[in-house]
């Protein structure tokens, strides 16, 4: 998913109850599991939400994370999305200080990355980019050359490739 070692993506299907997110994040916190990013969203089933967590750890840690998360009463399923079998996407918004002297240069980079400029004024612009986390990392590396005013990433959203559906009971 990214070039970094031991990054793992978990897709957790949970009951759409208030407090579920607190339970999952409390569990991670209590047991010292790392959270790199976390997204929560609806699914096609109104009773189920999907929590996508990017975490870090070796196989033993990952096994514990999955087992402990499965133990929560409101967890329906936990799926480890492996890099080669899954699709990872993230959305980036980044605001860069840019006057006429650097604007064209930035536009050139955006074109290569197929990023969109979604806001523009005399002194700054906002770029929107969707893609795999490593693509976004690469784009941000390029943007470090400029004066970044603010940035925000959504965190990873992910699905397994192919026709599989990770069963909701």
């Amino acid at each position: 998913m990214t070039n970094k070692q031991n990054k793992q993506v978990l897709s957790i299907l949970v009951d759409n109850h208030s407090g579920v997110l607190a339970r999952v994040s409390s569990l991670f916190c209590q047991r010292g599991f790392n959270i790199d990013s976390l997204t929560v969203s609806n699914t096609d089933n109104p009773e189920i939400s999907r929590i996508t967590i990017v975490t870090e750890g070796d196989n033993q840690v990952l096994e514990q994370i999955i087992k402990q998360t499965k133990k929560l009463e409101e967890t329906r399923n936990v799926v480890h999305l492996r890099n080669d079998e899954s699709l990872f996407r993230e959305l980036l918004l980044v605001k860069i200080a840019a006057d006429h002297r650097v604007r064209r240069e930035i536009c050139g980079i955006c074109e290569i990355y197929r990023a969109k400029i979604v806001d523009l004024n005399v002194s700054s612009l906002i770029v929107e980019l969707t893609g795999s986390p490593s693509k976004i990392d690469g784009f941000m590396e390029m943007m470090k050359e400029y004066d970044i005013l603010e940035m925000c990433r959504t965190g990873v959203t992910a699905l397994a490739r192919g026709g599989v559906s990770h069963g909701i009971k």
Partner: protein
């Protein structure tokens, strides 16, 4: 029929087979208290001195009976006072349903009087918890709480009920008692693989824990040990699950376990871990624990596999189901050289020396077991006395040694002993405590007196916080910081002040006589035993250590 929330609560409790309730009243549960008044013939309520005592009483009741313990408290401080008791039950997998009142739904989130977010506070120390926001959800939520508490690996569940929900009315439809809905999915191949490993072993060893008792698999375990001649040692939680009269039972293992038991674990070629979780008090050094053994783990909780110690083979499921299927596949055989080796180690175990002129901890425990007999239930607090009770009482039956193993809760014992004695009024219940632990919750004496629950409390008084002080002696160059509070409590007088009886003993003859009287007194009794503050719990292997690091004196 149309009932209000409080009546629905009472109806569901009766439906779930609850006839005993521990708790303490308060503003947010006034409606519930009022409804319970009408159910006082079906549900006997025990009001404790403090909600913590009620939570430990529900826990002790549950451990002694195997039923789900129920505790009721009001909002705010009532609820927070349950926290230690809930965490204690959680760490030791004790089925419990805690019911708390809360302020009305319109007041929630406004920092109202006696408002606290108890669902948030107890999230990491319950199997699950609920906030009931509509009376229509109440009955099924309570049923779910009983189901969850008692299914799979057992544990506490909290149900928080805002005050307006206890008054609101709705149609109540009677339901059924919730059983254990756990289903084991263990294949025959898994059982065969385990049997194969066991059958090839030359030096097999069983390490068993409290899960064997929860699964009611004590007899199955004993049969397995006998059929294949496998020696076994137990964790603190499993004292009594196989009686100490069983020759293959090597006794307690771990930090303060017998050296022979720890040596057997160290030298085994196959270790079968059953209903246990490789805690840091047993698997002191996770790298070197059972270093020569192929480890098979049998447990109901998949998250316990490979958590602390990497195992070679595991079967996840109901321990009783697994053991009963394993038994026919295990060869009947002898491991004579191995057993002889272990017996030699057992002969080398250092035994404490008797001295009738003073009170020696091991002699106190032996005398308690002699007089209380085989029906006794031992309940401890936490510290040196707890380890002595584990080491030297005669543990013959499961559910008869109640102790806070996981959380190590000082102050657990008195409430738990009261709960156990209420469950079994005809069995002697001996609460073994230390002067440190006992000061935490001795106030529950008033509960024992109010309901005439004749628990016998044996206070091992060394005037210091013995376990802390022992560690300071060994690891901190005798710098006794905070462990010598120099209290001058006159226990006999305090007992009398509560309306109980008190005795003080300084030698074995006095103790023998005091205990004889206490067993006949039929009222709550305290027996203070003055012991030397230099008494230590031995043997001892420090955390992270191995049998090479054992201290025997």
């Amino acid at each position: 029929m149309i009932l209000n929330g409080s009546q629905i609560l009472a109806e569901v409790l009766v439906e779930q087979g609850v006839d005993t309730l521990f708790g303490y009243p308060g503003g947010a549960i006034l409606n519930i208290c009022d409804a319970l008044y009408d159910y006082r013939d079906e549900i006997k309520q025990y009001i404790t001195a403090h909600e913590q005592g009620a939570s430990h009483a529900a826990d002790g009741y549950a451990r002694a009976t195997g039923k789900t313990g129920v505790v009721l408290a009001t909002s705010g401080p009532g609820a927070t006072n349950l926290v230690t008791g809930i965490a204690t039950a959680y760490m030791d997998s004790v089925p419990m349903v805690a019911i708390t009142g809360n302020v009305g739904t319109s007041l929630i989130g406004r920092d109202s009087f006696q408002e606290v977010y108890i669902a948030g506070i107890t999230m990491p120390i319950t199997k699950h918890n609920f906030v009931v926001r509509r009376v229509e959800e109440l009955a099924d939520t309570l049923r779910a709480a009983f189901r969850i508490a008692n299914t799979g690996r057992k544990g506490p569940v909290l149900v928080d009920i805002p005050k307006d929900v206890t008054a609101a009315k709705c149609e109540f439809v009677p339901g059924k008692k919730q059983g254990n809905t756990y289903v084991t999915h263990v294949s025959d191949e898994e059982i065969e693989t385990a049997a194969d490993i066991i059958n090839k072993a030359e030096r097999p060893f069983i390490y068993f824990g409290g899960g064997v008792g929860s699964a009611k698999a004590c007899q199955d375990l004993r049969e397995l040990m006998q059929k294949a001649e496998i020696p076994a040692a137990h964790t603190l939680m499993a004292a009594g699950i196989v009686g100490c009269d069983e020759p293959l039972n090597l006794g307690l293992m771990g930090m303060h376990g017998r050296l022979s038991a720890n040596k057997a674990a160290d030298k085994a070629d196959v270790m079968i871990a059953i209903g246990t979780r490789f805690s840091d008090r047993v698997a002191l050094n996770t790298e070197k624990f059972a270093k020569d053994a192929t480890i098979i783990q049998i447990d109901i909780d998949p998250s316990e596999v490979n958590k602390n110690v990497a195992v070679d083979y595991s079967i996840v499921g109901d321990v009783k189901d697994i053991l009963s299927r394993l038994l026919p596949l295990v060869d009947e055989k002898k491991h004579t050289p191995w057993i002889e080796q272990i017996n030699q180690w057992r002969g080398e175990d250092k035994k404490p020396v008797d001295d009738p002129t003073v009170l020696k901890p091991h002699q106190i425990m032996a005398e308690i077991s002699r007089q209380a007999g085989e029906n006794a239930i031992y309940v401890t607090d936490v510290g040196q006395h707890q380890m002595w009770a584990a080491q030297y009482c005669r543990h013959l039956h499961s559910r008869s040694f109640l102790t806070s193993g996981g959380l190590g809760t000082m102050g657990y014992g008195y409430g738990a002993a009261i709960g156990a004695k209420i469950a079994f009024p005809n069995r002697p219940v001996i609460h073994i405590t230390g002067d440190g632990s006992f000061h935490m919750n001795m106030n529950e004496c008033c509960t024992a007196v109010s309901y005439n629950v004749p628990v016998i409390t044996v206070i091992m008084n060394n005037s210091v916080l013995g376990m802390v002080r022992q560690w300071q002696t060994v690891f901190y160059n005798r710098r006794y910081s905070g462990s010598e509070p120099e209290r001058v409590t006159d226990y006999a007088k305090v007992a009398e002040g509560f309306g109980a009886k008190g005795y003080k003993c300084e030698n074995l003859a006095q103790f023998t006589k005091a205990l004889e009287m206490a067993l006949k007194d039929n009222c709550p009794v305290w027996i203070e035993c003055v012991i030397d503050r230099e008494e230590k719990v031995l043997p001892m292997i420090p955390g992270g250590g191995t049998i090479d690091d054992v201290m025997e004196e």
